[in-house]
Amino acid sequence: MSPALFLFRKREWIYFAILAFVLVIVFPSLFDNFRLNLIGKYLTYSFVALGLVLCWGYGGILSLGQGIFFGLGGYCMAMFLKLEASTPEATAIQSTPGIPDFMDWNQITSLPFWWEPFHSFTFTLFATIAVPVALAFIISVAMFKRRVGGVYFAIITQAIAAILTILIIGQQGYTGGVNGITDLRTLLGWDIRSDNARYVFYFICVALLLVSLIVAQFIRISKFGRLLIAMRDKEDRVRFSGYDVANFKIFIFCLAAALSAIGGAMFTLQVGFMSPSFVGIVPSIEMVIFCAVGGRLSIFGAIYGALLVNAAKTSLSETFPELWLFAMGGLFIAVVMVFPEGVAGLYRQHIEPLIVRGTSLLRIGKVRKPRPAAE
């Protein structure tokens, strides 16, 4: 059996194919550039949700600070784009041409040293992942090596998200403050605001998402995936089976951070700016709900969850702005009380049996009993 085939079971290949078909063929042909760009934006949250499935659903590590990594990834990309937009010619009216406009407004007369490397696109691509992962690594080493988990981890990540927001807003000369880094124009000379670019970014985003999905699936079906479940249920048992539990948690948390960072970078490219409002407490906890609605144990669910909640948010807040918070609040309660396995769980309970029955005549081979933990 070749490894690639081994990666998904037969039915999962079908799910994967359906998802790819929807994202690559259906959405682009159904929606105009504007709506497609919106979907692209929603998909950037799918990266975060995917990371949360691994980290929270499987590993039991609830992070209320995914916005930190999403934001850092996005900021790294935004810094590069901002520098590219701040050529001396484009910023000739400033007191110090050649530096980002917000620095000039804050009487900063030369580019801070830590901005310098972001002139390089290669470095930026590297930093987009490396900076968030490094922070995730520091946080997780400090916490997991000392066996801090569960609720404490959630609260501390939330506090870090709060700190980072205040810091970004407070250091506006270096970060653009509450406005964020705005007015991004080109990527390597190519206008990112054009319809054309938006199409391209959408497809890059989809491609990256599908690759991430395969990576997540690889982890899920590997022994690592089973270890995550084992750690979630009986951490001590895993430890006394000879595993250094902290290392596994650190790895999965860093991976989730990396996925969030990719999402953040794609967000910046598609939306055209980055601001502290995607770093803080509220967006971070909303990201958890994307994952929970999709099904905290389903990597496919994560993607649908992010799409569904965001689409609902856009349309509900358009038509019934008053209702939106009620709906969102109800959603949080419902995924805890009524359908803890989210959309994926509902699908497995109600729809999959029908499909299985329908196709049972044609079916070849054994269908495994659906099991929540492994799906």
């Binding site: 022994k223 479940i229 048992r237 430890r239 006394f240 595993y243 099991r371």
Partner: protein, 250 residues
């Protein structure tokens, strides 16, 4: 260098103490376990039995004293390193992964791919499958390999956890109340299982069930208030007036 430990002692505990906020749960305890021995630790509630196991396997850190295993000081190692050194531990309540199958439970305990990278590249090859099946046979779960661990009976869960230890091939197994909650027939089978096990491993057992203790024990250690009260064969311990005082007095 320390002098080589006397050959006959697999595990030697000396002067071990631990206190929780002033309360000495284990107090200057010394205990020696030989190779291929079944040692049963008994004692009234709160005697510090489980704490001793916790101390050996690194779950609790000793305040003072030493624990040497094959000449290796365990008190300085972290839990997984102690496991790597060859000490396996079963908990009082069956501690298994309920969301996984029996096969997966055993597979995860198979001593390979214990690093992050190792776990990612781990392949379920013939060696693993054979070993899992072999152990499953020993623990009477051969026919339940694809069963979710959650739906096993209480006794089967206990066996599964013992199996998870066995697959690690530890030199020393520590079992905390392995027959608690088992039916009579399960209990007999467990005794049989333990008797197979000691052919290759040393075992420390904590047990309350005196009948069972009689069935398996080579030597018995009685703990009381964190100290060794009495030690020796079952008969000797049972006739020790100090033991009778502790169990029957007050």
């Amino acid at each position: 260098m320390d002098v080589e430990q006397p050959k006959e002692f697999l595990l030697s505990i000396e002067g071990l103490s631990v206190s929780f906020d002033g309360f000495k749960a284990v107090n200057d305890l010394s205990l020696y376990v030989e190779e291929n021995e079944i040692r049963v630790i008994i004692g009234p509630n709160g005697a510090g039995k489980t704490t001793v196991l916790d101390l050996i396997c690194g779950r609790t850190r000793a305040t003072e004293g030493s624990i040497r295993f094959r000449g290796k000081e365990l008190t300085k190692l972290r839990e997984h390193e102690i496991v790597h050194a060859g000490v396996g531990r079963k908990f009082q309540n069956p501690s298994i992964y309920e969301d996984l199958t029996v096969f997966e439970n055993l597979e995860l305990s198979f001593p390979r791919g214990r690093s992050v990278l190792g776990a990612l590249t781990f392949r379920r090859d013939a060696e693993v499958i054979n070993r899992v099946e072999e152990i499953a046979e020993m623990i009477f779960l051969k026919d339940h390999l694809e069963t979710d661990a959650a739906i096993l009976s209480h006794g089967q869960k206990q066996w599964l956890e013992i199996g998870m230890l066995l697959i690690q091939s530890p030199e020393l197994l520590m079992l905390d109340e392995p027959v608690a909650g088992m039916s009579v027939s399960e209990r007999l089978k467990t005794a049989e299982l333990l008797n197979t096990i000691i052919k290759k491993h040393s075992v420390i057992v904590i047990e309350h069930d005196m009948k069972f203790v009689e069935d398996i024990a080579h030597r018995v250690t009685v703990l009381h208030q964190g100290k060794v009260l009495s030690e020796g064969s079952m008969e000797r311990v049972q006739s020790d007036p100090k033991v009778i005082e502790v169990y029957l007095g007050h």
